[in-house]
């Protein structure tokens, strides 16, 4: 059987210094800070800080970065496509049969900033999740008043996506064992169609069975997901955040308070 999709710690509790809710909230605040940065230098500085803090906190970088690498298409999409749609200063001209494609400097800069932001935010959240168990993550969301029905669905989704992926792999192996070759494009498309059809069909059946199993054990009658409270050491985390915000927005803050 496979594991969960995200880099959670196995087991019930992580025994971390900070509460999962604080880790999650802090990551959220840092993500907001990352998303409003317009300078590449600041972004690289922040990502460097995330890597440094993560290393000090013994983050499992191999797991985190291999998952973050799956977002390369989203990042490259912005970096490669945006220069062709936005800007005035010509960076590159590519001749094509129907004329020419022009890439602009402003678009490239903006794409680079957006791509770096996405990489930073994804790495940040994955690193944060790698310091808590799935139960603690769900508990943290519960503390943040996310409705139980949403959390229940999230829990089931995180449990069953790996199962469906395994099922897909098994079916693909079975196809290959019965002589299916990844040859003609049409055959590939046809086989993918069958595969998706059966997986959806099985997923429906399984979701019904899971729901029945949960109902039989009283789903909806009690409080399955329990929130997690803050810890004293969380103050340190938030103090660090205040220092970070102050150092990044020193000028703006002083202007507001001192005029």
């Amino acid at each position: 059987m496979g594991t969960f999709l995200l880099p959670f710690i196995e087991g019930r509790t992580s025994h971390g210094r900070f509460s999962p809710t604080s880790i999650f909230v802090s990551s959220f605040i840092v993500a907001i800070i990352l998303s409003i940065q317009t300078s590449l230098l600041n972004l690289f500085g922040l990502i460097g800080m995330i890597l440094l803090v993560g290393t000090l906190a013994r983050t499992r970088w191999r797991d985190v970065l291999s998952l973050a690498a799956r977002f390369e298409f989203v990042i490259l999409f912005w970096v490669i496509l945006l220069p062709f749609f936005y800007g005035t200063i010509t960076l590159l001209t590519i001749p094509v049969p129907w004329g020419q494609l022009v890439a602009y400097q402003e678009g490239f800069d903006l794409g680079l900033i957006i791509g770096t932001r996405i990489f930073g935010i994804v790495t940040l959240f994955l690193a944060a999740l790698s310091h808590m168990s799935l139960s603690e993550f769900i508990g943290a969301l519960k503390t943040l008043r996310i409705p139980t029905s949403v959390l229940g669905s999230l829990l089931i989704m995180l449990r069953y996506i790996p199962l469906f992926l395994e099922e897909r792999n098994r079916m693909q192996e079975a196809q290959q064992l019965r002589g299916f070759q990844r040859g003609k494009r049409w055959e590939q498309i046809k086989s993918l169609g069958y595969l998706i059809g059966s997986i959806i069909d099985r997923a429906m059946d399984r979701s019904v069975a899971v729901y029945e199993a949960m109902t039989l054990r009283g789903f909806g009658h009690g409080m399955f997901i329990v929130g997690v409270g803050p810890r004293r050491s969380d103050l340190l985390l938030f103090l660090g955040l205040v220092i970070l915000i102050f150092s990044l927005f020193q000028q703006q803050i002083l202007e507001v308070f001192l005029g």
Binding site: M1, F4, L134, L155, A209, A213, L216, G218, F219, G222
Partner: protein, 250 residues
């Protein structure tokens, strides 16, 4: 004798499948095997007992309480159902959380939940796995955890859908001990099986479903002597002879 489950003239239909006038009694602390060919309606009958499906006519009583919409939760507190595939049942991140799901829904305090979970994991011999992800267990281990999740709610009746399917011999042996111990505590057990070994050696009584009709509900000894019932449970002697013939040793 008081009945744990009493089914009278139960009818149900879905597409081209139907259960017709099914009658069945499961007595207190009785261990009954429900047998029948694939598609004969065994799992459907379980689902009707648990109120997951609604009968067309007839009635089901659990400890003299009728199974109906108003008291489904009360009924489900009394009846634990072990699914054939543990993947359909286990969903929480860890073994502990999954077993704690039922007790928490029963409104137990944290200490009671802890006690119940430890007790049931101990019974199925999975105490050391409490912190393990439910994704990282063998089929047999997952089945034992699924059973722990059921018995943690302290049901008085157990419905087991193919409890021994896909288990190796040591795991079957463990499962037999677990269910035997539960039965000693007064739990009534209704289980489905295709394996004649578990009929001959383990069932107090047998109920036989054939194409949606209950053709027998009585003592094991009589059932195994009846040739028409043997067709449903499988004529293993004849098969054994045929196999020997194929191998040229008979």
């Amino acid at each position: 004798m008081t009945c744990a489950i009493e089914i009278n003239n139960l009818c149900f239909s879905y597409n081209d499948f139907s259960l017709q006038n099914v009658n069945l009694n499961l007595h207190l602390a009785e261990q009954k095997a429900l047998v029948g060919l694939n598609g004969s309606g065994k799992t459907t009958l379980f689902k009707l007992i648990l109120g997951l499906l609604e009968p067309k006519s007839g009635s089901i009583h659990i400890f003299e309480r009728k199974v109906e919409l108003e008291n489904l939760w009360e009924i489900r507190k009394e009846v634990g159902f072990l699914f054939q595939s543990p993947d359909d049942q286990l969903f929480a991140p860890t073994v502990w959380e999954d077993v704690a799901f039922g007790p928490r829904n029963l409104g137990m305090t944290i200490n009671e939940v802890e006690q119940q979970v430890n007790w049931s994991l101990d019974i199925v011999g999975m105490s050391d796995f409490f912190n393990r992800s439910v994704n990282q267990m063998s089929h047999g281990q997952a089945k034992r955890v699924a059973l722990a999740g059921i018995i943690a709610m302290r049901p008085k009746i157990l419905l087991l859908d193919e409890p021994f399917a896909g288990l190796d011999f040591p795991m079957v042996s463990t499962m037999v001990d677990i269910i035997h111990n539960l039965r000693n505590e007064g739990i009534s057990v209704l289980y489905t099986t295709h394996n004649r070994f578990f009929l001959e050696n383990w069932a107090d009584s047998i109920a036989v479903l054939h194409e949606g009709k209950m053709i027998y509900d009585g003592p094991t000894e009589h059932a195994l002597e009846d040739s028409s019932i043997n067709q449903q449970t499988g004529n293993w002697e004849e098969l054994s002879l045929r196999m020997k013939r194929y191998r040229g040793i008979a």
